[in-house]
């Protein structure tokens, strides 16, 4: 095995230029790509090959310290590709396509010794597979980071508290309510109550697709917290199906003012604040 390792390193080091050309040819065959220029690809391949040759000279354990530069290089390439919009298969193929040129070289170099050739082939296979897996792992990680970031952004974007009138604020809720979201929504709403000194808060649930017992419980908690602060809460935007669901679930919404639309809620809020809306004669042709 040790012999095979030495040979592998030897192969990687000896004719780098030829190997580079072969690899590039292999990559092009898989599918020429517009997203990355030829020169850029060549630079990537070249850098990776040098690092590979260095690392393979020390040992064949991809997880070891000697291989760290290779792993970091691969992570960087895979991160860049994830952001450029490559699929995970394409990114994996980038590494796996190194196999074929390496195998053909092993065959030439070890043609006389079947035993050594089998060992060498196995060693190459091992290394390239490990590198491929590592690349896909890094790719996946990048994608997950993107998803996490988007989730956080969505959370912040989806909880605006708006002032409707002096002393009346509203919170149009959009999307599914879970515990984490309710917590954030509740905090920002209560803080806004303090900041604006509003007496009435309207929670509009037109944009909430489903209401189950958990969501109803969250809503009730918000209503209680608002009352504790010394303000009033009106829930509006309850669709017919949701009204049916709430009753079927046996959720007790007594003691909570509910209205069908935001307009109705605003009307009653203005009344409680002591304001009336009246129609004035429109001035024609102002």
């Amino acid at each position: 095995m040790a012999d095979a390792r030495a040979k592998t390193a030897e192969i990687l080091r000896s004719d780098k230029t030829a190997l580079l050309d072969d690899w590039m040819a292999g990559l092009r065959k898989v599918g020429g790509d517009q997203r990355i220029s030829d020169a850029e690809l060549k630079a990537q391949v070249n850098g990776l090959l040098s690092l590979l040759a260095d690392a393979a000279g020390q040992n064949t354990d991809v997880a070891s310290e000697a291989w760290r530069p290779v792993r970091e290089n691969l992570e960087e390439i895979s991160r860049a590709r994830a952001l450029q919009g490559f699929s995970s298969a394409e990114t994996a193929m980038f590494v796996l396509s190194l196999k074929q040129p390496l195998f053909s070289r092993a065959r030439t170099a070890l043609a006389n010794d079947a035993q050594a050739m089998a060992d060498g082939t196995w060693a190459i296979n091992d290394i390239v597979d490990a590198l491929g897996i590592h690349t896909v792992k890094a790719f996946q990680k990048t994608r997950e980071d993107v998803i996490m970031r988007q989730q956080e952004e969505m959370l912040e974007l989806s909880t605006p508290v708006v002032k409707l009138w002096d002393g009346v604020i509203a919170l149009p809720m959009i999307g599914t309510l879970d515990s984490a979201r309710t917590q954030i929504v509740m905090e920002s709403l209560l803080q806004k109550l303090v900041d604006t000194g509003s007496e009435i808060a309207i929670i509009d649930i037109t944009g909430v697709p489903t209401v189950d017992t958990l969501v109803a419980q969250h809503l009730l908690k918000a209503v209680t917290a608002i009352r504790l602060m010394g303000a009033e809460c009106i829930i509006s935007g309850i669709r017919p199906q949701i009204a049916q669901t709430i009753v079927h679930l046996g959720v007790d919404l007594q003691g909570v003012t509910t209205k069908a639309t935001l307009a109705d809620a605003l009307a009653i809020a203005l009344k409680r604040v002591g304001l009336t809306v009246s129609r004035v004669k429109p001035t024609l042709g102002a």
Binding site: Q183, M186, E187, L190, Q191, L193, V194, G197, S198, E199, K221, T224, A225, I226, R227, L228, M229, G230, A231
Partner: protein
């Protein structure tokens, strides 16, 4: 500080909690407050907890109990200025303080007490006296 001051403002008593409550302080406050209501014949109590940052279930229950005690002694209680974090904590603890009246600020609380006691304006009050 081993006592919380209770200020008298006409018919009302104003209790401002400026420090974090511990259990003994809460008990002392209940004793002092009930005694003072009895002595002064106050009709309304304002408990300002805007400086209170920490609550536990005991303090939460204490607020509800104090309010109930005052009601028995014929004084309406309004709890004012609860912080958002405190409100959330109480809700999470399952304490909804359903019998307690609340208001955003001391001024609004005072207004609320007046309307509940059937008085429209402080100027009118003064006039009648």
């Amino acid at each position: 500080m081993d006592r919380i001051p209770i200020l008298r403002m006409g018919d009302f008593l104003l209790v401002t909690i400026q420090v974090d409550m511990h259990d003994r302080l809460a008990r002392t406050l209940q004793d002092d407050l009930t005694e003072k209501i009895e002595r002064t014949g106050a009709k309304g109590v304002l408990i300002d907890i805007s400086a209170l940052e920490l609550v536990d279930s005991y303090i939460g229950r204490m607020i509800a109990n104090t309010s109930a005690m005052a009601r028995i002694l014929d004084a309406q209680t309004v709890v004012v200025g609860m912080r958002p974090a405190v409100a959330i904590t109480l809700v999470e603890l399952g304490l909804s303080l359903s019998g307690v009246d609340t208001a955003l600020t001391v001024e609004r609380g005072m207004q609320r007490l007046r309307t509940r006691l059937g008085r429209t304006d402080s100027a009118d009050d003064h006039h009648q006296e």
